[in-house]
Symmetry: C2
Subunit: 340 residues, 2 copies
Amino acid sequence: MTNTNLQDYSHKRYNILTGEWVLVSPHRAKRPWQGQNEAISNEKRPSYDETCYLCAGNTRINGEVNPNYTDAFVFTNDFAALQKDSKTFAVNDGLLVAQSETGICKVVCFSPDHSKSLADMTPKEIEKVVFTWQKEFKDLAENPDINYVQIFENKGAVMGCSNPHPHGQIWSQSTLPNEVDKKNTQQLNYFYKNNSSLLGDYLAQELEKQERIIFENDEFIVLVPFWAVWPFETMIVPKKHQANILDMSAEQALQYAEAISVITKAYDKLFNTSFPYSSGIHQAPTDGNENKHWHWHMSFYPPLLRSATVKKFMVGYEMFGSPQRDITAESAVKMLRDLL
Amino acid sequence: MTNTNLQDYSHKRYNILTGEWVLVSPHRAKRPWQGQNEAISNEKRPSYDETCYLCAGNTRINGEVNPNYTDAFVFTNDFAALQKDSKTFAVNDGLLVAQSETGICKVVCFSPDHSKSLADMTPKEIEKVVFTWQKEFKDLAENPDINYVQIFENKGAVMGCSNPHPHGQIWSQSTLPNEVDKKNTQQLNYFYKNNSSLLGDYLAQELEKQERIIFENDEFIVLVPFWAVWPFETMIVPKKHQANILDMSAEQALQYAEAISVITKAYDKLFNTSFPYSSGIHQAPTDGNENKHWHWHMSFYPPLLRSATVKKFMVGYEMFGSPQRDITAESAVKMLRDLL
Ligand SMILES: O=P(O)(O)O[C@H]1O[C@H](CO)[C@@H](O)[C@H](O)[C@H]1O
Ligand SMILES: O=P(O)(O)O[C@H]1O[C@H](CO)[C@@H](O)[C@H](O)[C@H]1O
């Protein structure tokens, strides 16, 4: 173990990718919980739901009919937060500063089967989703107005997902969002100084220590980062230094799909429930630069803490101070590893 | 109106206090909601609950008995995230960086009356809470190991509050949490450059425009900041430049209490429910420096978006990209102002 103090005493850990800190209070997991319980439905869904606007053959709210798709299916978000043909303007009025933001938002259905989630799909089926992400990323990257592409999934009602049909989203835009900007700066600074990949060097350390790794295959590592915020936060990282998902070969895509399959299955076993999370891929901007400092990765932020119904609330102190966690990254690793 | 484009098109606004951006998508409020509804209880609570560990005269989990307090009552958190006598250490192992964090966590009961919240209390009663915050802040500030004091409240089960008895918390510690660190830097840079208060200059602009102000008295302004993230986020700011709450006179404390009373009452009326939120006071570090660049303020971050049961989910895009909001700050102001 890195340092036994980390398992026993309050401390903060540094996130090398964002430059921010997380407060860790190992002893706090002992406090009793009298607060809100989440309503989690473990009901089995049908493979087809005629009221679902994502199922194949059904009509969406704008009148469009979904095709009879057989693997992944993509369409432009009917209620997009970013719009392509939006007006361009800027406000620079003293301390009031704003600027227009244009973009394209898409929905990616992972499977026509309404009853499934990534955890129920085979690596071969997930591979199709990965290929779809690659294709969409490529198309958007070629658009001169799009400089960043955020691929993500909200899974579970507790994560604000309004439809249980397996799907994720892609929001792409002209500027870098906050979190990406932080990771861009940290990786760039490190790359200039060391002429090597920040995440690559971190992986080397983790491979040597073997304290936070949950799973690895030839091409990918699944681990709980040293600075994880959410109780069971994990990260999938390619072993080779790659700036974005287009650097991934077809063989690597299958290994990536295997990594996604392994961690999502472990999650579902942890509290014996379809495990909610938000996941996202952080990768190089699509601004036409080489962005050699970027090492792409996928993170899972699951809210559950103690059981299928008790989540971690990121509220008062976390909103005004720093994120705070009650179990250490190393205890989370042990629990997840035991489920493989 | 500052700029009509801001009411119609997607844009991002700059937060002068943190240096980060919020994505605003005004047209998005129109999308239908099929997702999770919160279970909000509007049941009237009794004034005394024998099972409540915060009610006067009751025994807490550690065996201590609460006194028969009559206004505010403070005790050290029985399950503190930070501990005073914790060990001191540092980890600097390549890219694994951590350091111990010590501190003192307290619970502040606002009233012995279990049925109340700040919204149900008079300004005179709230003033007692303000005096208590001042006293606690002073005590902690005098402790050489404490360099920052975070006062906050989590209100409502949806905000992770595990006991409906009116209360808040104080977490104090040896280093600056992330959010405070950002605000420290932004205010310091501005002060060096302009020799004036960032928030003071911002207030002057808002007073001139009268577009985002909800309420003012002689000493305080309640407004929706231009860069608000949460749908009905508000901020209470002293008109005079004050680094921390000890700069506030007894007369000013009553005006501050009035401002708290006005905004919490408006919140309760908005969706006809005891309005959940996390609130917090950001103020100068207690590191012994003058910190003249600091202008203290209190923010409210309420999660509700459309009704007592539909909240805004800060999930996928928000976690991986930037916070995103669906109604503009200016529409929120109009709705809140109408309730005064
Ligand atoms: O301290 P409490 O009320 O038990 O806990 C609540 O507030 C804390 C501080 O914001 C959070 O860390 C917890 O997740 C939340 O449930
Ligand atoms: O796009 P959806 O699924 O309707 O909405 C969900 O994801 C969005 C992106 O993270 C969030 O802004 C919404 O608050 C959430 O409910």
